[in-house]
Symmetry: C2
Subunit: 95 residues, 2 copies
Amino acid sequence: MSSSDVMVSMHHKALHLLQEDANKIEKLIEVQMENLTTRKCPLYEEVLDTQMFGFSREVDFAVRAGLIPVAAGKDLLSRLERNLAQLYEALNPKG
Amino acid sequence: MSSSDVMVSMHHKALHLLQEDANKIEKLIEVQMENLTTRKCPLYEEVLDTQMFGFSREVDFAVRAGLIPVAAGKDLLSRLERNLAQLYEALNPKG
């Protein structure tokens, strides 16, 4: 493998891992969305916030390590943040 | 640069970044150790726990991305955990 092949392969791997982790959080959000009308788990917000914090640290590290571009990191995070915001809106509807 | 040079350079960079982050937490622990007798900040433990969690996610990601060996990740974390344990012991001395 050439050096640029190695880089491309490491970047792919990093992005794939981050996407997997993002999917796990996504799944947590979906589950809570589906259970909106049945029951609320009071710890859900806390768990999601913690997971989001951990994920943002992973993404930040990947960017600093030169594994993914800044924009790719921002995309991953803002997508999750939008979904989270929708969940919170659904959990706490305004009057 | 050869492909193995690229790998070595990425591994160095990753380890260096993690070491920097570990040093920041180390610093937080030191500051609290120095202030043991003067004043306790009740949020300190929470802040340190959060920082440790974020750091463990970074380390875990670096290992999974093939940037650092499992053993190096464990070393980074266990060193900090030992220092944290010392701080907590000093904060909560047994009768």
